[in-house]
């Protein structure tokens, strides 16, 4: 187990292994996405209250969950790079920010497009929407800070601290629909109770959530591989790779 992690620290080993895993991971993502989309858009019946508009849920909920999940991954990576100064964790933290920002933006836009027909308005300043918007600003803040600082060590520390301060926002987003009762509907799926949605509608949602998770793993690995190539550009194995390509 430890030798595996040790080997993973070697850029070349990481590059080779991820190159072999990626096609399969990508294939699994594509298959799950297609199944989830077909099930969610075609097979699942319309909602008795919301008609077909609820089908936005199949992309809105996974995007929103990923916006939180990616932030927690980024925060975990930030802790590791602050405490142990591991290179790989810094790469993960750096590449989580733009991905998380795009999931957050997707969650906000799909939410607005769902809100208009159901609530009569694209936007309300309720707790869930406002805290999710704050999350977008946190991501953008981390990206901006990273771009502004030249020195890699200062960059890792400053963006890590900002990331960790922003973690406060995550439980606020998660519990906002329970703490404040506003337009945004309560959680459909909760650990502590039976889901308030019919299985024929629930399954495609779960498939889409898994697909989005895999998608995140795929694009994060792709970005990390680019980072490895850029950092190791002067080594013999990267040159050889580039010459073959």
């Amino acid at each position: 187990m430890w030798t595996f992690f040790h080997k993973l620290g070697s850029p070349r080993y990481f590059y080779d292994l991820s190159g072999r895993v990626l096609p399969w991971l990508g294939l699994a993502t594509a298959v799950l996405l297609l199944i989830g989309l077909y099930w969610g858009l075609v097979v699942a019946p319309p909602d008795y209250q919301q008609g077909d508009s609820y089908r936005i849920m199949y992309i809105h909920v996974p995007s929103a969950w990923m916006s939180l999940f990616v932030y927690m991954v980024m925060a975990g990576a930030a802790v590791i790079s602050l405490v142990w100064k591991m290179k790989l964790s810094e790469v993960v933290a750096a590449n989580c920010a733009p991905l998380g920002a795009s999931f957050t933006a997707a969650a906000l836009v799909t939410g607005m497009l769902w809100g208009k027909p159901m609530w009569g308005t694209y936007w309300v300043w309720d707790a869930r929407l406002t805290s999710e918007l704050l999350l977008l600003f946190l991501y953008l803040g981390v990206i901006g800070l990273r771009n502004a600082i030249e020195d890699p060590r200062t960059r890792a520390r400053a963006s890590g601290v900002l990331t960790l301060v922003g973690v406060v926002n995550i439980p606020i987003i998660h519990y906002s629909v329970i703490w404040w009762n506003t337009l945004h509907q309560g959680p459909t799926i909760s650990k502590f109770s039976k889901p308030s949605v019919d299985p024929t509608m629930l399954w495609p949602l779960l498939i889409m959530v898994v697909a989005f998770m895999l998608y995140f793993a795929v694009v994060l690995l792709m970005r990390a591989r680019c980072e490895v190539l850029a950092r190791e550009r002067n080594t013999a194995w990267v040159r050889q790779l580039a010459a073959q390509a």
Binding site: L41, V42, P46, S53, A105, T110, M222, R233, A242, A245
Partner: protein, 59 residues
């Protein structure tokens, strides 16, 4: 089929939302692919230039 595109009257909202997500997912997928290709091209040009330079300094 027409029902499918009509989405019970919510076609604009449903299809806009799906388009936005599709664009976001595709963009995030394509950008590291392009970066990788660009990096590999840069590195191979760099190292071939270095070989030429080395050859010139030797002669």
């Amino acid at each position: 089929m027409q029902d499918f595109f009509h989405m019970g009257g919510y076609a604009f909202f449903v299809w806009s939302a799906y388009t936005v997500v599709l664009v976001v997912l595709t963009a995030n997928f394509i950008s590291p692919m392009r970066r990788r290709r660009r990096l590999l091209r840069e590195i191979s040009q760099q190292s071939s230039r270095k070989i030429i330079n080395d050859a010139e300094t030797q002669t």
